[in-house]
């Protein structure tokens, strides 16, 4: 069943809610932030002089032959989980607007679990790479990779904290349907984090 009016008129000069206008403006500025990081990654792609390399085998200074460091299956799974978290948060929003408190809390909880899984995946990946000899200053790939994916991971972490605060309010009964806009704004941020990953995943992991 279709639900709610997309954007009912509010008493402002534009007829649009200022909080929503603010989050969209913020998202617009974030586009440029991530564009600079993605652009930097692309500029330095394939320009590293020493390994480890993302897609090619390499020989360590000790003469050890090492495999490419990316683990595509793990990251693909993480990508799918992040995509599903976007789906879950949109269901949470639909349910809070309809006044289905239990479903709202359940879907929001599922979104947070997905976000935590993604962060865990990234922590595991970074730790694994460090053990394989890729530090932040090892080569151009390391610097641009950690900067790009690290900033994205930070955004995911902020999103998880934001959504968790809404979940806590919901559990305390302080998120009635009239306050659905609070979740809508957090959800917009969460979807943005998701679309950024939709760009990062093929650019970093699949384009060799």
């Amino acid at each position: 069943m279709a639900h709610d009016i997309a954007h009912p008129a509010v008493d402002t000069t534009t007829g649009l809610d200022h909080r929503k206008l603010a989050i969209w403006t913020f998202i617009g500025s974030e586009c440029l932030f991530f564009a600079s990081l993605i652009g930097t990654y692309l500029v330095y792609k394939g320009k590293s002089v020493v390994g480890p390399f993302p897609h090619d085998a390499w020989v360590s200074p000790a003469g050890q032959h090492l495999e490419p460091i990316f683990e595509i299956p793990l990251v693909t799974f993480g990508t799918a989980v992040l995509l599903f978290s976007s789906f879950f948060v949109v269901l949470a929003l639909a349910n809070i607007q309809r006044g289905n408190r239990k479903a709202f809390l359940g879907w929001l909880g599922a979104t947070i679990v997905c976000g935590l899984f993604f962060i865990g995946m990234q922590v595991y990946e970074f730790t694994h790479f460090v053990h394989k000899g890729l530090g932040f200053t090892t080569n151009l790939f390391g610097s641009s990779f950690y900067a790009l994916t690290g900033f994205h991971g930070t955004h995911v972490t902020v999103g998880v904290i934001w959504l968790t605060s809404i979940l806590v309010l919901g559990l305390r009964g302080k998120m009635p349907p009239e306050k659905a806009l609070n979740l809508e704004i957090a959800a917009l941020y969460w979807h943005f984090v998701d679309v950024v990953w939709i760009v990062i995943f093929p650019v970093v992991y699949l384009m060799s």
């Binding site: 639900h3 709610d4 009016i5 954007h7 007829g15 586009c31 692309l42 500029v43 939709i198």
Partner: protein
């Protein structure tokens, strides 16, 4: 109707639409990885076909996923056109920024190589 051109009073998508979008997103991600695997393994003629066009395939699939999330999950299809502008305009600048960076560094390398 409000009479305000910034406001589109459209109903948001139904839960079944959200489900369909989720399945399409999952399928598109699977296609991305499948294209990558085919391009990097020796699978007879398939590799020869996919490998040279891997990057355009990935860009296309990624753009489709991006558009689906923005249109249906971020509700840009139903919400105020002003919000669409606030999102699309920076994306265009961001695309231009990435292309400009690539062109600038490509030129710098060519210039350096030529002495």
């Amino acid at each position: 109707m409000t009479g305000n051109p910034l406001i589109r009073e459209k109903a948001w998508p139904s839960t079944s639409i959200y489900w369909k979008v989720a399945l399409v997103l999952f399928a598109l991600t699977a296609l991305e990885v499948a294209a990558f695997e085919v391009a990097h393994r020796d699978i007879a003629t398939l590799t020869a076909i996919v490998a040279p066009i891997l990057i355009p395939i990935l860009i296309l699939l990624s753009a489709m996923k991006f558009a689906l999330v923005a249109a249906f999950y971020m509700h840009l299809k139903q919400d105020s056109i002003f919000f669409s502008g606030l999102f699309v305009f920076p994306i265009l600048i961001a695309g231009g920024l990435i292309l400009a960076l690539l062109a600038l560094f490509s030129y710098a390398r060519t210039f350096a190589a030529g002495g």
